[in-house]
């Protein structure tokens, strides 16, 4: 890897870390397009539970990883919501970069003789 590419990657990662670590706290809390469509037709109680109607979300089942320390984009045990979301975002960016770059590095083309 050339030194210039290293700088580009570092800059890109910094942008991603800022977006996931800081800007994420200003994201909209409304359900996204899929979720909103899935909720349409049902009425919801105070805790978000379905109280009536018919909608796609009706037969939703819990998530197998609901007990993950990073579940729902927060860090379990950190009460400050900004810190919790921000740190979860930072962790996600670093883990995704590590897995992605590591995985792609392993399957890359090796015959690097020309050029």
């Amino acid at each position: 890897m050339t030194r210039k590419l290293g700088w580009f990657l570092a800059g890109g990662l910094l942008v991603a870390l800022l977006l996931a670590g800081v800007v994420s706290n200003f994201a909209s809390g409304s359900p996204d397009g899929l979720d909103a469509t899935a909720r349409e037709g049902c009425t919801f109680g105070a805790d978000g539970e379905i109280t009536g109607g018919t909608c796609m979300l009706q037969r939703e089942e819990g998530h197998q990883m609901a007990d993950s320390p990073l579940a729902d984009y927060g860090i379990k045990g950190i009460d400050n919501p900004y810190l919790s979301t921000g740190l979860a975002g930072v962790a996600g960016v670093l883990i995704t970069f590590g897995l992605g770059a590591g995985g792609f590095w392993l399957v890359r083309r090796r015959e690097q003789k020309a050029a």
Partner: protein, 232 residues
């Protein structure tokens, strides 16, 4: 902040149909890994890791599209332009797998559905448009930005209709399909416009700073030429 569930949860589409799409997704991703090897060199591999990390970050940034409805980037088109279709589909899949396994977003049972819609259909639609538009539009940051915008809008709507197909095959409640299709298409046109603006800004910035790192500028620049390579 409310818990954000952004992808298809468990139980929305029944078990058998979800399982079929897991098989489909695994098969397509295997082809992607095989085809991606030709593209992945020492420069593209870390770049692809960055693209995946960037998509993860931007997917956290839900933007309002209607009162009570938000949207977020899916990332297929952005990935196609920066790292190509095969590696791009793998980038989006990496994000979805991390989100599912660590962030409990997008059901584990539904992982095949989510990968099919966002990583496969969204990326494929984005690729077809990018491949066409890059040849028509000027090869500069502006042309690339316009390409990213148009391809993103179409790609996001196609991905949303992938869900409609899956729901038609195995939805767990009885609801009008034309209504679901229309509602999903309507909100996802708006989400696609948001994604298009983000993708256009991103690729235009990379094209300005490091045009050599933009896959779409490298690959579609000239009419197809065959590299004669001796393979041992």
């Amino acid at each position: 902040m409310d818990a954000q569930a952004m992808h298809i949860a468990n139980g929305i589409v029944n078990g058998p149909v979800s399982a079929i799409f897991v098989v489909f997704a695994v098969a397509v991703l295997a082809v992607c890994v095989w085809k991606a090897q030709a593209d992945l060199d020492d420069r593209l591999a870390p770049m692809a890791g960055l693209v995946a990390a960037f998509i993860f970050a931007v997917q956290m940034l839900n933007f309002q599209v209607l009162p009570g409805v938000s949207g977020h980037l899916l990332g297929g088109t952005l990935a196609v332009i920066l790292v190509g279709p095969w590696v791009g589909a793998l980038c989006v899949s990496t994000v979805l797998i991390v989100q599912c396994l660590l962030f409990a977003d997008g059901g584990l049972t539904a992982i095949g559905l989510n990968i099919t819609n966002m990583a496969i259909l969204g990326t494929a639609a984005g690729y077809l448009l990018v491949a066409g538009l890059v040849r028509l539009l000027p090869k500069n940051p502006y042309g690339l930005g316009v390409t990213a915008f148009i391809a993103s809008v179409v790609s996001v709507v196609v991905a949303s209709q992938g869900f409609v197909l899956e729901y038609a095959l195995g939805g767990t409640t009885q609801l009008s399909l034309p209504w679901i299709s229309g509602t999903m298409a309507g909100t996802h046109v708006l989400i696609g416009i948001g994604e298009g603006l983000i993708a256009a800004t991103t690729v235009a910035t990379v094209a300005r700073v490091r045009p050599d790192l933009v896959y779409a500028l490298r690959t579609f620049r000239k009419p197809v030429t065959v590299d004669v390579e001796a393979v041992a």
